[in-house]
Symmetry: C2
Subunit: 715 residues, 2 copies
């Protein structure tokens, strides 16, 4: 089905291009008719053709939609959808370009009030879900990092992307992105089968290409600089770390950390001590990381400064079972194993984690346990589980030290986006820092039961040797002690056979005749209670901004207008879970009357006092418009104060997605909203407890709700 | 009293120096006696003198302690206290030097698990206390900032400290710190009155000195480089911002933000729009700021990367009253006005905020309201209100644009530390960014009632003028329109008197005779509904690390040993408020038995599930030692599972500071601890509700608790 889908998508894009061109023709003709240069007949003919082309386009688009079902869509729809979400995010100041009054800086974004609140809620939940519930050790270190730390970790040498320069204006571009864009455009046009296969093959291997091979491909496909069409340089590596200088002398090189992980690794000895010198344990850090991207793009998905949450789980490499694995073993999710990716099907399968471990698809319980915890985290904050998959890295994608790696990928209008990486980094980082600092970066593992190990002990009898060899005794003792096990056994045999043996036959110790009473060579059984190891590390690493953006796309929908409303009065809604909603409740007066406003302020204050983020909207616009405004911010609940409130101290409580309402006493409001917001109580339970109230005329009805996955029906 | 205190402190320091020197003598004599170079009698004599000197020193120290009471102490005691607190913070990994396995980097620190949790709790409370409760607009922007933004704000030019270089090894030092150290050492020795006054005068003015004057003073007092005693360079300005380069071309200069405030200012137009174009409103940002300090010192008080919380309250400069001021008007605190600082008394006075505003000591309600909110914040997180004062900046301390500025200073072993600055920055920043970008950075203020303004209107009658002057009409119209009000009135009088007037008599319009019907000059009343202004800004700015450190000092104490314990078994306690405590509860089994452990794990899990940070300690050490361990982490409550628990499902609940215990059913534990932790319930209320339980033998008794403010009685 995948291949057919690709064909149809291509057809849609081609038909779109043809229709667009004809649209331009029609516009040009219209102008020409006005000037008298063309006849009306010519124009009408062109319009008729345009209509025909549009019909064809619609037919192809429909066929494409049928093929993809609800989960995907044409790139045309995707772009329109993405623009609509972006507009909503910018209009309500969820996210804005940083320093926009100065023209903005590529790859830097600000979170405005609602975006900041949503991000903060997700981070708080991350801390609760992982740090608190898994009893992790949280640390917070600086972003400014001295160079030796990042030399040891390999970042100074290898944290690079390949870059090309525009030979004309010096503009820089990512070499792989440039090649990718050109090849994808080629694929959109008719090509013979061999050529298409060839290009698809290059695209599939894009991540693997080194500077030389990438350079050769750029030449082969005659890639030029975008916009200018100038020649480009050969690809060369550009280090993505922001460099700076620490201290006033200017001689201490520093970088802004490209990941939060290293701040944990360098603290390993202290953290181990803090944990009572016991393995396994996990440490975590949530904070800013910095990557000086060559050409940032895709909104907040590839930025120069971002919030990262990283967990380093330190474990005895020989014991990667997990005591709490049974709690996640029955969780089912989309698993896209390495094997499936290289097979003909190329599709993930729904699988239980327990089965994934049993069948060996996932290497061990610990990595699978974290995959399970990531899954429950993502679902809790509003990611659609049907549009999330765990994809195993192919061999070439993994760092050379990594043992296994799974990405939690979420489908967005940009395609499948890596939001969380769960990697088995082995003991690489700790060993690197140990080598760079000469510090002990290991842990003592006590065996469950002591082990008994047989070993050969060579014990020179110093007293006898001293008498026999005087000043040479030291040399002899040292020679005996450093004999290989094999030679020691040979000497033992010789001594037992003939009573003496010449040292020079067994090692470079010189010409000394050793007697039987001069050395004891025996096999002994030793009790070993444990061993010293460098722990393995399993690292779940979260890009908070990416998760946030995908969540925005998954929670965005457009509510159709209710009867009697204007057609273009489409209403944008973010169906945030109460957990992440920036504001839990909006309080309105039904009409702009001071006696209503007084009650609204009291209600709002009591909700805020109990820790619930609440806003008040006393502007004079219609209640329907105010509901729409609060829906666009994703506020899950709204309270309306009306005439009845003044009589009986009850208010209307409305739920965002169903638009259903109940009548509830003010005295119950705080507790009810707290439970709804912490997701202890479901809306249905509240509905069962309190009398329902008819929605106001302008409020949309439940059946009008549209879950517009890439729907073009948006403003 | 202040002056006497200074004298006595000087005496203590002098006596200490003399005693130290005699101590050295005694050690030298001991060695000499061994070698037979001196007699035993000489040694005994020296020892007797040392004993006498030490007695004198103790007497002076005692007198000093009497004078200062509990609130302050000698610098000797301060240092020992600081070391003890520092040891405790490092021992339990609250705070550690960053990159310590690489030798550490000056001015960079890590927060370990308990430090991170305390910091996180303080930040959460900051968000709740300010952003949620004051309905502020929170934003989050990047640290990486393009140069033009910081040029406009003045940081590129003026964010500097004066630096000197060691002529020998190139080491850099802060010029003012060097002078200060030398002068303070001079003051510690006997000096004639004139000299002492002179030096005290220089110290008082240290902040005001420019490069030239500071250079002159360094020369005058013959200041050399510390450690090496080399010559030093003249002072020169060093910019404290970390510089970096944005993007791959290397031609976009950037800096790490030195404050979070500018990220708010550049978003002002969008934030104003978000707020419905209404003033006043406040925006806030909590995040990392970076300052490349010349010589970081004083632990985490002066660092190169730190968390800052900044609030910008935008307000009509003519209306700085605050609707919620009455809520803080009766709050009493130590207020150290500019006037008191320059008076003879030099002491803050306890004052109500209402009175401070009424008497004009504080400029307006808004700045006083924020001072009140800062006060309640600081007290809630554990700062001792008797060791906190609000000090007004002296004229020379303020930035040239600032209208008023108050520091919340907290007393620590380092002296009075600025933890929060509350500044009226006027419209400076917004005007700077407006000028740099040509963007509108103002707001429209609608008057409560429209104002009626009388103004003189000069209305040339174009038709008549056109006929009379033809091609010159334009010149005449323009001349009439730009007349001063005074001349227009004179012309009006002339026209009314003689029916005509020559233009040249009233302006540079040329020789034209104007008739009465050619121009209408009338006073008219106009209705004005509002005006366009650049808002003033009141900025409370918080250094989270400084607040944290002062809180550590204010909550540290040493519990004396109970009877039967070893003398040196002193126990360190941090009496964190439940709000900021890193862990709310520790769960212990009384003995290391599996049936106890099972219950402990269940209790711990249920507490964690309800969001309470809980740890479990099942190590085999004595219960007393385990209590001591949890006290040192500042855990306010501990649960012990014992034999009775298995019978009746009750446990012992212990409060940290009183060491008192109650017996409570496990089923009540969650709710009780939640209420205790959120400070809704007091421990006394829990004591009243449940039967008390005798403390274990090794638990210290309440009367043994020592609130050691700078006590030397610490490990």
């Amino acid at each position: 089905m995948g291949e057919e889908l690709g064909e149809v998508e291509k057809e849609v894009l081609e038909a779109q291009a043809v229709a667009d061109e004809q649209g331009n023709n029609v516009r040009a003709l219209k102008a020409a008719v006005k000037k008298g240069e063309k006849t009306k007949e010519e124009l009408n003919e062109a319009i008729a053709l345009l209509k025909k082309l549009k019909l064809e386009l619609d037919g192809k688009r429909k066929r494409f939609d049928e093929l993809v079902g609800g989960g995907s869509a044409s790139s045309v729809n995707k772009e329109a959808f993405r623009r609509a979400v972006g507009n909503a995010l910018e209009r309500r100041m969820f996210i804005t370009q940083s320093f926009s009054i100065y023209g903005g800086t590529a790859g830097l974004f600000d979170y405005g009030p609602p975006g900041c609140a949503v991000k903060s809620n997700i981070q708080d939940f991350w801390k609760r879900h992982f740090i608190l519930e898994e009893n992790m050790l949280e640390i917070e270190g600086p972003a400014v990092t001295p160079a030796p730390v990042l030399k040891a970790s390999g970042h100074v040498e290898r944290f690079t992307d390949l870059m090309v320069k525009d030979a004309g204006n010096g503009e820089c571009h990512r070499a792989d992105h440039l090649l990718e864009d050109v090849l994808k455009k080629m694929l959109a046009n008719p090509l013979d089968g061999g050529k298409r296969k060839e290009i698809e093959n290059v695209l599939a291997r894009l991540d693997e290409l080194g500077a030389q091979e990438l350079g050769a491909q750029l030449k082969k496909y005659e890639v030029k600089a975008p916009d200018t069409n100038n020649e480009i340089s050969d690809p060369f590596p550009f280090n993505l770390m922001f460099a700076t200088s620490i201290g006033p002398r200017g001689d201490v090189q520093g970088y802004l950390r490209p990941e939060t992980a290293q701040g944990i690794f360098v603290n390993f000895p202290q953290l181990l001590y803090y944990n009572g010198n016991k393995l396994p344990f996990a440490a975590a850090q949530l904070g800013q990381s910095f990557r000086n991207e060559i050409s940032p793009q895709q909104g907040i998905l590839r930025v120069r400064e971002f919030t990262q949450g990283e967990i380093e789980h330190f474990v005895d490499p020989e014991h990667k079972d997990h005591p709490k694995f049974s709690r996640v073993a029955d969780l089912e999710m989309l698993v896209f194993s390495r094997e499936k990716q290289v097979s003909d099907v190329k599709r993930p399968v729904t699988m239980k984690l327990g089965d994934a471990v049993k069948s060996g698809i996932m290497d061990n319980e610990t990595i699978a346990y974290f995959i399970g915890r990531v899954y429950t985290f993502m679902v809790a904050i509003g990611i659609n589980p049907e549009r999330m998959r765990f994809r195993q890295h192919l061999e070439h994608e993994m760092a050379h030290y990594a043992e296994d790696c799974w990405d939690c990928e979420v489908e967005s209008s940009y395609g499948w986006i890596e939001c969380v990486g769960i990697a088995d980094r082995s003991a690489y980082d700790l060993k690197q820092h140990a080598a760079a600092t000469n510090k002990e970066m290991g842990a003592w593992i006590t065996f469950d039961k002591p082990k008994f190990v047989e070993e050969l002990v060579v014990e020179p009898i110093s007293k006898v040797l001293g008498k026999a060899f005087r000043k040479d005794a030291k040399t002899v003792v040292s020679a005996l002690k450093t004999m290989t096990e094999e030679n020691a056994l040979k000497m033992k045999a010789e001594l037992e056979k003939s009573g003496e043996a010449n040292l020079k036959a067994f090692c470079d110790g010189g010409d000394f005749v050793i007697k039987k009473d001069m050395v004891k060579i025996e096999r002994e059984t030793k009790k070993v209670s444990g061993k010293f190891i460098t722990p393995g590390v399993i690292e779940p690493s979260f890009g908070i901004g990416r998760i946030l953006y995908c969540m925005f796309e998954h929670t965005y929908y457009v509510r159709e207008s209710a009867e009697g409303e204007k057609e273009d009065d489409k209403k944008v809604v973010f169906k945030f879970t109460p957990l992440v909603a920036p504001t839990k409740c909006t309080v309105f007066p039904l009409l702009q009357k001071e006696e209503f406003n007084v009650v609204c302020r009291d209600v709002c204050n009591s909700l805020v006092d109990s820790g619930l983020s609440t806003i008040i909207d006393v502007t004079g616009t219609s209640i329907g418009r105010r509901y729409a405004r609060t829906d666009e911010l994703g506020v899950p609940f709204a309270v309306t104060v009306d005439h009845d409130t003044l009589e009986d101290n009850t208010v209307t409580l409305r739920e965002r997605d169903t638009c259903s309402q109940v009548r509830i006493p003010i005295s119950d409001l705080c507790a009810t909203l707290k439970n709804l917001s912490s997701m202890k109580t479901k809306w249905e339970e509240v509905q069962a407890q309190y009398p329902s109230q008819g929605g106001s005329a302008s409020a949309a009805k439940e059946e009008n709700r549209t879950e517009a996955t890439y729907s073009l029906r948006c403003p």
